[in-house]
Amino acid sequence: MKALTFAILSEPEERLDLSPLTPSRLAGLSQVQIAKLRIGTSSHPVMVGDVFNVSGTDLHSIVFEGSTKRFDRVGAGLTAGSIRVDGDVGREAGRKMSGGSLTIQGSADDHAGSGMIDGRIEIKGNTGSYLGGPLAGEMVGMSGGLLIVRGKASDYAGDRLRRGIIAIGKGCGGYAGYRMIAGTIAIAGRVGAVPGYLMKRGSILFDRHPTELSPTFVPCGEPDIAFSSLFDRFLMREKIMNRPLLGDRPGRYGGDNAVLGKGEILFRRKF
């Protein structure tokens, strides 16, 4: 069976909410019914058929051929199956996803993986701010799953991360791991200011010494722990990194001492 394919006809004039286009929400709908789903967000909203040419029948494998930054909430609420986007997407990609896989060949805007519960998101390009973070009024960010960014992430990556793993390939902006509750963030490349600010617990892993730490993180030596090699092997087995991130006996900072002081920043000692 050919994957259910949404080929873009032209650049939409308005932002689109693509959360209805997931396997579970499309189940039992004919192509005509799918074409009549409302996805626009203006006062005269467009429907699927106005923006996409729909083809294919395999609901468990969805492909968006061509995309724009106006595609919001791609794969939001995904529970099973796979979605692939051949291009960039807008905000909240994979929001509240609880299973399946979402692959974005381009870049994603703010709040990618927001409130993710389980599953796998892979973004080949860069992402905006608040990677995995909660929306306004929510208390917890990502609480499970694997979120991979091959490019660079902007500020506040992993805001209020509760559980799960975030891996970033080419560095990130300021406040990585901001208000982190638990979980793991692995970052290769340059890191912005004050990573781990207000973090309670959890681990932030770097491939180099962080330069602008908050003074409430204190050095804790170079512990000889099994975790670093185990996690390095996991990252390489999953093809997230192609060489060890931490290496043996990584350096360690503990903090944020302004909060609980039970979080840690581990870093590779020699880059």
Binding site: E13, E14, R15, T41, S42, S43, H44, P45, K69, D72, R91, D110, H111, P134, L135, A136, G137, E138, Y175, Y178, R179, V194, Y197, L198, S214, P215, T216, F217, V218, D256, N257, A258, V259, G261
Partner: protein, 362 residues
């Protein structure tokens, strides 16, 4: 004197209203920017609901940061009156907007009611980004560190208060700790302009820490009082602060999606309705976006399809505005009454001119 223009041509108010309502009716994605008193804001939001338009304030970025402290985190707040009556230690945090200088001087001229013999202590926590201008209205002991940002200074103060280790020391930290430990009701005073969002959250968590052993509070002084008044009015009407939209018929709050300046940059709307009784520059000026301006002006706003001059509450007509000093709204009388129509009256006429001809509920 003309109060309405189509393009740059003076027309009657009714013609301008008819033209503006036609543009609103034809618009696929209109957006509103609102800067007005309570009555103007209520009418504008009611019209936004009628046409399905999101709305924001011209100072939406700062206002959004101030609102986020309440929506995303919360805090322990007290009123300016309580601070004046009860606080024995006042800690100013970061930049305090100069228009609150009178309030600080008022506090400085009084003693806490609980202990009139005790002089109130003043501290000022500030980081390397502190501008120092304009000068603070009161004298306060500076607490800070070399090359430490406000966020880092607050983090060090909080960690030190809990007896935890830090890598930096601060000037006058011992004096601050001594005063806080002896204080019956320390109050931290801050504004949305004081620092970044993480700094304000660190501050609020420090106030919460202090409340585990005693009593402490914070006073929030908005960066712009009129903007905060608009936010409160929006909350009463829709349950949400500005950056709320009505495209699904129900109000939905999204500080990024309904950021009107971002929407205009990304060319999402096709009509911008700029309502400002204080003047200012519409963010859509210089773009090809169709613009309707309801503004306190004597000349047509350049680049607009329709301009209608409106009066300002407290200047041209009576009104109701927010006051930080009382922490609530107050009636203001016209200082220089004029013939300019109020924003709410113009918006009501616009609503009646729309299809259906229904009057606004407010």
């Amino acid at each position: 004197m003309s109060v309405a223009w189509i393009g740059s041509q003076p027309v009657s108010l009714m013609d301008a209203v008819r033209k503006a309502s036609g543009l609103l009716k034809a618009s696929r994605c209109p957006v509103f920017t609102i800067d007005a008193d309570v009555h103007g804001t209520r009418s504008a939001i009611a019209l936004a609901e009628r046409v399905g338009a999101p709305y924001d304030h011209p100072l939406g970025q700062t206002l959004s940061r101030e609102v986020a402290l309440f929506t995303d985190h919360g805090g322990m707040f007290t009123t300016a009156g309580e601070a004046r009556n009860r606080s024995d230690v006042i800690v100013l945090v970061g930049d305090i907007p100069p228009h609150h200088g009178g309030l600080l001087l008022d506090w400085a001229s009084t003693q806490p009611r609980s202990d009139k013999l005790k002089k109130r202590s003043w501290f000022h926590i500030r980081g390397s980004e502190y501008s120092g201008a304009p000068k603070l209205a009161v004298r306060a002991v500076r607490v800070g560190g070399d090359d430490l940002s406000l966020g880092n200074v607050l983090a060090v103060v909080r960690a030190t208060l809990q007896g935890r280790q830090t890598l930096s020391s601060l000037t006058n930290i011992d004096r601050l700790l001594k005063s806080l430990s002896a204080a019956r009701f320390p109050v931290f005073v801050f504004s949305g302009a004081s620092g970044q969002m993480p700094d304000l959250i660190m501050l609020q968590e420090m106030v919460a820490d202090l409340n585990k052993k005693g009593r402490a509070g914070s006073v929030f002084l908005p960066a712009d009082e009129a903007a905060w008044g608009m936010a409160l009015t929006s909350l009463w009407m829709t349950g949400f602060p500005p950056r709320t939209g009505f495209t699904d018929s129900l109000p939905s709050y999204d500080p990024v999606r309904w950021d009107i300046q971002r929407m205009i940059r990304d060319k999402e709307p096709d009509l911008h309705v700029w309502m400002s009784t204080r003047g200012g520059q519409p963010p859509s000026k210089g773009t090809r976006l169709c613009l309707i301006a309801l503004e306190r002006t004597a000349v047509p706003v350049q680049g607009t399809a329709v301009t209608i001059a409106v009066g300002q509450a407290g200047l041209d007509h009576d009104g109701v505005c927010y006051s930080s000093k009382t922490g609530t709204f107050r009636a203001v009388q016209a200082a220089e009454p004029s013939q300019l129509p109020s924003l709410s009256s113009v918006v009501r006429q616009l609503a009646v001119a729309l299809p259906g001809r229904k009057a606004l509920v407010c």
